[in-house]
Symmetry: C2
Subunit: 714 residues, 2 copies
């Protein structure tokens, strides 16, 4: 399975073609390049924002239509309503899983671990293609609209990254949607920056939290960060916020169906509904710490269960083909529908509390789709069903209801516990962000209820506890801290809660870390994505570079090499880089640089560099001929590229030679054999390398470079 993953090359290959191309480019080019970068940041922002709006409008309309139809039918018959409800869900979910399995298999799952891997330096095949983007958008509409315990947040991050990557390579070549003048960023290095922007844009779109988006990209996804990038990432996120806001303004007048009044609901809790607590007293810190501990424990448990189930699904269930996958998801949809419709039926309704007109909350909610206090299967008109309020609703609405202030005693402990267990159970195979918020806010609200009845005098809102619960569960499961904190603050638009959220996150992360790794790391491991953490392992202090290489013989290439030899070498191993060795006049060997497998394949395929003579090119006088454009060597994103087995060479070709000198990377990074692995690791990780040469102790130093040498004034 690891074979579907390959490292990216962030190194600048300073070969002959590159140097020529650089020499031709003036300072003007640099300016142009910067402008294009910003323009792309703008496009990524607009694209991701529109995708988010599209997904939300679709989901809200499907779900809204589904619920209003069901409510209309259950006025006459609950059974007919149930059947219709189940069927609609099934159709939506089926279409989603069909699209994904048949058309875009790489779009399955949250996508965040893969994107994280991409930004860490490993490319998972298919992850950033056009078809994956399409599959992701329509897949998440179907599954979220169909009521599965999934959010649109992870998919949005993936969507943003796909948009960014497609822009970076100038569109999709396969679907003839590419444009030459957009093919600007033809190195992995440039694309990495764009994908970082795309990630931030995705989070910003999902939560309408531009700062949170930047911090998420910074904390959770990227592995390299430059401060110039920050401003561009922030710009992208803000553009997303503006696009979403504009679209929502436009929809307010009812032009977007059900979306006008619902949708993007997580984002609206800052208004009337969630005024939150302005103040908190010292006594409340203890229950809040308890929430943190619960969050850490449940989050770790969640990760562990998710891990087992994912493992089992990958290794047993999904081996059996696509049909099993489709059946599996439809079954889950069926179960979810039955539970969300059925459980509230068994629940006795509660009489409405005395209404407080100033709070703006009516009980039961007026006809329409949104609000607390849902009247469902109740005998009397002024009653509500607390389970239906959270179960028989879209997830966004359920969260909004759980977070809502001024609704003390709306839910019973029993109802919340039921919801907690059920959501936990259904979320394990699927969800990450939104189900996590639901789980967390449920037990948060439970704790809040106890606090309300315990400290009777204090001004406590159960909604605040729900919010803290959500933060704690996400913290305990994902182990993000800063970005989560900021996202929560941006969602609620209440900066005063910041220290509380921090406290809870600190505790839940610490508790969770005692048990296992974060959700994304676990998933990356399960999917075989070899992430390099930012810190070297402790054992590396005692290892050396030479030790880790062992006695493996290095496979190298001579400077002028026979085509047959290249083919043999490339077939006999799957290394991706080869040192190139030349002989000096004195007869001693000299390492001239590093040759990449992908570049060798390009040379073999084009054949223009084949020569009959086994002598170096430049020995016949004059400079090296340039027959290649630098962009020919660029490998497309997320594809395997060409393989040695795809290349047809005639017996004549095999007898020819190639002079590799113009194509090698003449300055790979080198380390001395007895450097400790910690330092090698830092070098590799910080600079985003793919290959390091381990060399024997040098015999001479011909110069020292210090800060003074690098301070060049222009």
């Amino acid at each position: 399975d690891g074979s579907s993953v390959e490292s990216l090359d962030y190194e600048v290959i300073e070969n002959h073609a590159y140097r020529e191309e650089q020499a031709q480019r003036g300072k003007l080019y640099v300016g142009y390049y910067v402008v294009v970068k910003w323009f792309f940041a703008l496009l990524i922002g607009i694209g991701t924002g529109l995708a988010a709006v599209f997904i939300n409008i679709s989901v809200e309309n499907f779900a809204g239509w589904k619920y209003s139809l069901t409510f209309a039918i259950i006025q006459k018959s609950y059974i007919a309503g149930f059947v219709v409800y189940v069927l609609i869900n099934l159709v939506l979910v089926f279409s989603s899983v069909f699209i994904i399995t048949q058309f875009a298999p790489a779009a399955a799952g949250s996508g965040i671990p893969e994107i994280k891997g991409y930004l860490n330096g490993v490319d998972t095949h298919g992850i950033l293609l056009f078809r994956t983007l399409i599959g992701k958008i329509f897949g998440s509409i179907g599954s979220v609209g169909g009521g599965l315990a999934l959010g649109k947040e992870g998919p949005l991050v993936h969507t943003g990254a796909c948009i960014a990557s497609l822009l970076g390579q100038g569109g999709s070549t396969k679907y003839h949607l590419s444009s030459r003048w957009l093919q600007f960023f033809n190195s992995d290095r440039d694309r990495r920056d764009l994908v970082t922007c795309g990630c931030a844009a995705g989070v910003a779109a999902a939560f309408r939290a531009p700062v949170g988006g930047v911090l998420f990209a910074l904390e959770e996804v990227t592995s390299w960060w430059r401060s110039q990038l920050m401003w561009r990432v922030f710009f992208t996120s803000a553009i997303v916020a503006v696009v979403v806001r504009t679209a929502m303004g436009w929809c307010k007048s009812g032009k977007c169906g059900h979306f006008g009044s619902g949708g993007f609901i997580i984002w609206d809790i800052s208004g009337v509904l969630f005024s939150g607590q302005e103040d908190y007293s010292f006594e409340e810190l203890l229950p809040m710490a308890v929430i943190g501990v619960i969050g850490g424990l449940l989050g770790a448990l969640f990760n562990q269960l998710t891990r087992y189930i994912t493992y089992w699904r990958r290794n047993y269930l999904h081996k059996k083909g696509n049909r099993v996958k489709i059946i599996e998801v439809c079954l889950i949809s069926l179960i979810t529908s039955v539970i969300s419709f059925g459980l509230p039926l068994f629940r006795e309704c509660t009489p409405c509390p005395e209404s407080d007109p100033s709070s703006g909350i009516e009980c039961p909610r007026p006809p329409g789709m949104y609000g607390n206090y849902v009247n469902f299967f109740c005998g009397k008109d002024n009653e509500y069903n607390d389970l239906a309020t959270i179960f028989f609703n879209t997830q966004d609405d359920a969260i909004r209801n759980l977070f809502s202030a001024k609704t003390i005693h709306e839910y019973s402990a029993q109802g919340l516990l039921t919801f907690l267990v059920v959501t936990f159970g259904t979320a394990v195979p699927a969800g990450q962000f939104v189900p996590g918020i639901m789980i967390g806010s449920t037990y948060g609200r439970l704790v809040g209820m106890f606090v309300v009845s315990f400290y009777k005098k204090l001004n406590i809102e159960e909604g605040t506890y729900a919010l803290l619960g959500a933060a704690s569960f996400l913290g305990g499961s994902m182990r993000m801290t800063v970005s989560l904190c900021v996202i929560m603050v941006e969602i609620t638009n209440n900066l005063k809660l910041l220290p509380l959220i921090m406290l809870v996150l600190l505790i839940s992360k610490a508790v969770g870390d005692a048990f296992n790794e974060g959700l994304y790391e676990e998933q990356a491991r399960l999917r075989g994505i070899p992430l390099l953490e930012s810190r070297p392992k402790y054992e590396m202090r005692k290892m050396t570079a030479k030790g880790v290489c062992g006695n493996r013989k290095v496979v190298y290439l001579p400077r002028v090499v026979k085509v047959a030899d290249i083919v043999f070498i490339l077939k006999s191993n799957n290394h991706n880089g080869f040192p190139v060795i030349d002989h000096a006049r004195s007869g001693e060997t000299l390492v001239t640089g590093l040759m990449l497998r992908s570049h060798l394949l390009v040379l073999l395929q084009s054949k223009v560099d084949f020569q009959h003579s086994p002598l170096p090119n430049d020995s016949r006088g004059g400079s090296l001929p340039i027959r290649h454009n630098f962009s020919e060597f660029v490998k497309p994103v997320s594809s395997k590229g060409i393989s040695i087995h795809d290349i047809n060479l005639t017996p004549d070709d095999l007898e020819m030679y190639i002079d590799l000198a113009p194509f090698v990377n003449p300055s790979p990074y080198i380390v001395s054999e007895d450097m400790s692995l910690t330092k090698v690791y830092n070098l590799f990780r910080q600079l985003g390398l793919r290959h390091i040469f381990v060399v024997p102790r040098v015999s001479r130093v011909i110069g020292m470079i210090t800060r003074k040498d690098l301070l060049i004034e222009d």
Copy 2:
């Protein structure tokens, strides 16, 4: 002047003593170390928070007392009031400048460029000492309380960094305030992290903006960033916010004199005063863009003028000694006092507008120190003096008044222009943050006034424009973007303004960048701090490592070296690192590593490693003897350390030998002679190096390291 600056050593010197020490430490030690790190983050937060509270309480009390005294006296005589006002200011400013010149010269100036330099890898002498901390705190109390155009923001960043650094080295050894068990972080590398926390804490304290503090540290100050650090930095900032909030709660009941109702005023504009605009229309974007352009132009002008004046002061004025410095500052204080008292006298008062009780703003302001509509030198009781409202006030109050909403037409264009010119003039020699906000909000409000009278129908607040103006000026001068944006949002607690602030910042930064560099970079250059930018210069693409070293002969040391030779070498140059060369049995030379000047000096001073024989130590069998603790080699922060001229060696000593093998860094980073300087620069900058060895092309590769080799499971 460059001689007062020296590079820091972030490299891990993996010498013998270090390896021994590492070997003795178990995994438990790592856990302990992490706990101490977090504990220190807590302490830094508390310390910086308390320092901020202390500074604010003092400033508010001095200023409050000054203004109430003056107001009391001017009821009888304006001349007596003027004299008292001028004298109080003079005394405060004199005490400040006296403390700084006599006791803590390193505390002069904002300190941010030096801290930035520290985190970039260069240590300015004296910048992080205990006396600097004390000087900074009391100096800024005097000068801000005395009404100079200075803020407490820059000083707070420096204060935070000092506190962090002192904690890091376990207190101040000079003042016998150190504690051995606190001396945990005895490498530059660890201290760097602490100082980063300190910076963020300073900004968080200055603006009560924890997220802004983190982003400021990230964007503007640090040069290296690891995602683990982020959480710790965020924790520190949040602790600061909690400490400040608690202190303010405690002070509300009047226990802190004038502080209860004023102070930390910038932070309170989110309440009644600044409700800001909730919405904005499309037409307003044009005037806002204009604000951005003005901000860019004025900011660049400000930087340029500051640069000339700073240059002139450093090179002419301050050469003449401390007395001139003191006289200079006192003169500035005198001028400031005369202007702030005198100009309002020449201004005719304006009749109060019809009061709107719902806005909660009275005209003229009730007796007491804080509020809009100051009655000063007016004929009638219900009049106010718009110049006095902004001039004759602490800066925080002036800003608050400028930002205030629901006070349309409070200021006349003439009044604002006068204020703008004067503040600009007095701010140039001194201020950065707060004067910048004042300048910006003045022209912002001016633009706002025109917009109000132009688009009569719209719901426009002049205060919002003042805020945007402030952002634009800071953006045009400091060229920070993300952190400034977040700080502004946190100050106003209004996330809806985010896109507007971003737009303005984007424009003002772009306009400013067309003219000159950011304020801190310019200042760093003027002060001779050699900052390495994060991006290599364009010219470096065409240079190679060998080219930059030129034909300079490398000064090296043999493995076993005569003491007299060391002394000669150290005296004959001031290089800080020397390659150590050994001879293999085959007779060829081998580079065994890098020896630092500071380590050589420690060896010379302690003398315990002197030996009579010129033979290597280990050739006499057995392992190397360890006579040193690793911490002996640690250089204290911000001090020159020992010099070769301070070391006394007897003629006998000079005849002895030292075997350097146990002390060299055996694995310095090496680059091949023809690596392009861009790549060398990246290596140097990203890893925070101090020395790189340039070596000839290697003749052999003994191993390849790829991602697979670094994925070690524990």
